[in-house]
């Protein structure tokens, strides 16, 4: 039987049942620890009687920075599911359902308008699961995933941006029907190897917001105030805690 509780760092030693599954990626420690440090209530695990982690969900609360307000892609205060996984052996027993419900409750506590997530268009199991849990497609993000698991030669795979209204959204303003018909282009990645390119990127991003900017280590160069990270989330230098920040690729 499983117990649901907040994540603790030592849980990383007991995630074999989830992470040995090829569908679940294992990241570097910074990925898990930043959620634990920033949103400890939104990193929830399901633990079996022997202490194995058989499922977990990682989420966060955020909004786009204020000066993005004019952008059609501005996101108001909302909760986001970054990762959700249940060990193959434990699927279809309701664990995924409880985990998302707990996260939604945290979303309500945090006064979020809605919960959103990205899922591969080909991941029908997860899409069915989310639909059953009350989520609907808000839009399709073209080429969201850089690689296509089914076809390595293809350009990239589309993602569904799915949403569910939280209690605050009493009028359902943040969800829509027929979201499958709303498409958004995947933001383009620009690699900044030449410092002079920064100028161009700035111009480009004004014309064509937003842009993914991968900054290599360029001593003395300022990071843009905001960028779209690899997950497609808007991040600001505020998140990193420093104004001056040089990223290594």
């Amino acid at each position: 039987m499983v117990t649901f509780r907040r994540f603790r760092p030592d849980d990383l030693n007991r995630i074999s049942m989830c992470n040995m599954d090829p569908l679940t990626e294992t990241y570097d420690s910074s990925f898990y620890l930043q959620y634990y440090a920033k949103w400890p209530g939104m990193f929830i695990v399901a633990e079996d009687d022997s202490g194995n982690i058989v499922g977990y969900v990682m989420g966060k609360l955020e909004s786009s920075p204020a000066y993005f307000k004019q952008s059609p892609h501005y996101l108001p205060w909302h909760a986001h599911i970054t990762a959700l996984t249940v060990a193959p052996a434990y699927r279809r027993s309701g664990i995924g359902g409880v985990l998302t419900k707990r996260l939604e409750e945290e979303g309500d506590v945090g006064d979020a308008w809605f919960m959103d997530l990205f899922v591969r268009k080909s991941n029908t199991r997860a899409i069915n699961f989310y639909k059953k849990s009350g989520y609907s497609v808000y839009r399709v993000v073209k080429n969201y995933y850089g690689d296509d698991v089914n076809d390595p030669t293809a350009d990239g795979e589309d993602a569904y941006d799915m949403r569910k209204s939280m209690k605050r959204d009493t009028k359902g303003q943040h969800v829509r029907e027929n979201g499958e018909k709303h498409a958004k282009m995947r933001t383009k990645r620009t690699s900044l190897e030449d410092p002079n390119a920064l100028h161009n990127v700035k111009k480009q991003s004004r014309r064509n917001t937003p842009d993914v900017i991968m900054l290599r280590r360029l001593p003395g160069w300022r990071m843009l105030k905001n960028w779209i990270n690899a997950e497609g989330d808007i991040q600001s230098t505020h998140d990193t805690g420093t104004t001056w920040y040089l990223l290594e690729d």
């Binding site: 990383l12 294992t26 400890p40």
Partner: protein, 1026 residues
Amino acid sequence: MSSKIPESNLRLESGRVSHWSSDCDVAGAVENAARSQLDTPADQRAALLAVEKVIRESDVIKDSSTIDLYDWACTGLGEDYSKTIGALRLSFVKSAWKPGNANQEAFKSFYACVANGDWENAQKIAAIMDQKLPSESRPHFSNILAYYVLSSRLPVTDPRKAMFRTLAQRLTEKAYGLRDNTPNSKDYPPRAIATEEEMRLWLKIQVETRQSDSEARAFLDKPECNALKHLSEGHVSVFKEIMSLLEQHQVWEALFHISQELFDRGLEYLIEAQSSTESEPDSMTDSERKKHEAMKVIQEFTASRSEELSEVKKAAEARAFRSAVMDWSLWKQFIGAAVQLQDHKRALKQLQNFVTKVSKSAKLPSIYKKQMELANLLILFGRSQSNTSTSDENISESRINHLVAFVVANYNLVSCFDDLKPYLEQLSFDETKVFLERIGQEGEKETNDTFQNLMLLTLRLRFRYLFTSSPKSLSTSAGDASSRCNFCQNIVQDGPCFSNRDLRARIDSEDVDPFADMTIIGTTCLLKMAGFGDERRGSTMESINLKLVLWALSWLNAKYSRTPQKNQALPVFMAKLYLLVGCVPHAKMLWDTLGVKNVTLDSLGPLFSDRLSTIAPGMWRPTGSTPMYPYHKHYMDAIRQNIPRNIRTSLELGNFTSTLGLLAFQDRLTHSCTMIVSNVEDRRGIRAVGGKPGFDAKDDPLLRLIDNQKEFVNVTDNAALPNHECDPATLADIISIGPGLSDTRAKLSLFTEQFISLISYKEPKDFKPIKPAQVAELERSYIAQTAQSIHMNFATPFLRCLNAATDNETVPVLTDSEFHYFTTINFLLSHAVLATECQWNKSAPRDKRGSTIVAKIAAQIKYQTTSLALVREDTPETTRALCHFSNLHALGMLRESALAVKLTAGFLERLIAPAKNDAPKWLAEDVKALQSAATEANDFVKKRIKALSDAANTSGSLDSISEYAFGGLIDGSKSVNATPATAADGELETMIFVAAGQHAGFENTIGEILDSWQEVAKGWNTVKLD
């Protein structure tokens, strides 16, 4: 690494001519920072020297960005942060910082000290901020946290330890009092506990600063610890924490009492939530109508309370109660508490009533239905546990009925076996018999479909195996040395099912695969028959029947290649088994499909990489990247970069539990057995192929962070392997090269590496001291001291091993070969101490203690060599050499032992060289004896490598090994269709041959094994032995 250099400073950097300046102005700092990135040591340390000068002269750097710059420039120099940058930061906050606009600067200083583990200065900075910013809460709680962390880090001998602990306790008490005295949460003063995180910090400090059990109990009895009050406020995590504390301190009455109240109120909320999503159905039965009425009353009750509670508060309370009432860990605690009560019968009955109530009155999702079934089982077993007359037949029958019902209801869940395992282990032998019989009957019911019956029979097989691994299944009669199995032997027929298409399709659509389970059970039995027990100390080849291991491998391989995997149990099992027989490349291929990397290396990495260098040294190259590089990277990144960064983030956001959790995690990773052993693996591997590790053990960036006095932690996670053994045995015990990681082995390995680094050190060729004799004496005295201290550290874990070797009760932590290796190291260490401490003149007599050391070392080596020559007697001549592939670990440890002896001999030679005329004569004799022992062993290793290589590359190997495994079935003189009826006729052999895919399947497996052996032999050929 990401770096934070103020842009303005960098601009300056590029515009300046580089000349040395000791000024601590911005320009000087920029220049020093720039120099720190250059190549020469003088440049790299320029910033550090400047910092030390400022501190020596009691100067203050008044600009925090300049300190940031120095911080950046001094990174990686290994200096004590608290005495350098930390001290600068403190003096800045003390003398230069003024509250107001620049508050962030003080916080930044605090975070920087924390991130660098400098809690001394962090605490002082926090105290200043707390004092100067009385209307802010963050500095106050940072200060409390710093007192607490510092007190837990200071040694017991430091008087400040108790003082800081008391301060932390008092300040949290006060903060709690401020909260308690403020009725409305909006009016909490800044120093009152306001958030859940602050509340958890309060609880942790309050409990941990109370040292005795009775003090802790007294605290838990206080009104502040009213768990339900915390739950009402929505603080589930605080509530659960208090429950765990009550359990830990065995306050059963209180724990049970809380359960009653929680259930009563929680159920109201549960029903309320459901009724709000359901409207009254049109046609209701009487009982449904009653229930609906009841719900209405409850709704009205809660509605009336909403006057007292604001909407938000009420929602939080409801959410918290709903979550707690269905929390399985709490259920376990409540049932556990009930069992301990005087009137446990009544208490358990009350809990059972509640199970019935929940199950009936609420429309539960399936996950909670199962939880209620398990709660019932737990209560039932709790009842018989607390029952004085354990032979109570009613209870026994009821236990079996519940267990059978659970299996029938949940047979298609993967977790079914694991859910029941702890209960089955408690059954008496008679109960197990009845239980198995009943499951057998269930699995033969004609009303079931084939899949269901097959699943039930497979589960029965798994349960049957579990009981086999329990001592209850055996009985020994007086005077009879052998044990008798209490069960009769049944054979499960599985043949025809493989070709059933409908069944195959059904299995494909399910999460469970009965055939995979059968294969695992069957092959585990084969391995046990082959001689692999659960308390092995490494492969003693004369006891292992390789033929049965080959059967197991071919059966597993056939299953693996025939159908897609439902989970990772089979590939992990196979990878380990292939390692056991020396097929490292094939094991690696399987292992690579499992995606073990980054954060999972600590817990899963050892399943593959432990002892790798001993069996496949050819995976290493003298220079360049190593097989263990991903481990080093993971630990370096986590310990030095990611954890400190996130500690800072958690503090910035006031997530104190995360701060404490991250600090504990950092300490845990620093003392992880995997970290240490993977480091040692690389050292051994690199040495084997003639290279030199990048760092000496004492300078290694990770090893030098270790505190030897701490317990090294083993976090290996065997959950990925199937496990049908009765607790505490695991399958991993059976199919690993030797015992798992342990504090003892990690410590022995670490100290051995320190010793090897010490004796491997060679002065640079151009080092020509003016007074060589004097320098040599100094050198000897340094080595004597260091070797002595290593030897002392080594002694404690080594003594534990010696005791384990003579005591049958203690589970061994080393393989036989490791034991002899470390024994050799122990003698070498003693010898090094004697040689460096002894009187240094030609005719000095040999120390008495030392007279037999060299002979003992030679005997250890000899013993290792002799046992390597043994092979099971019934192995045919043609396959004998191949059998040695299953014993590579012992060969690897012999090679390491010989190398350690050789290095010691070389070290002694160098010791003698500068003072040839003064060196005691006996020392030179010992050098010779050691050299000859090492050479003899190395000659043996060389011969063995050649034999392995020849055997793997002989053209007839495939045939001879096939014949060895399956005899007549391979050459066609026996037919699978003429199934023999008895074991003596080879019934089992035929069945396995069929399961292994017959001729083609088996040859495929053997082909893969041979390919692997060829590659491993090739790797061994790169080992440097001269």
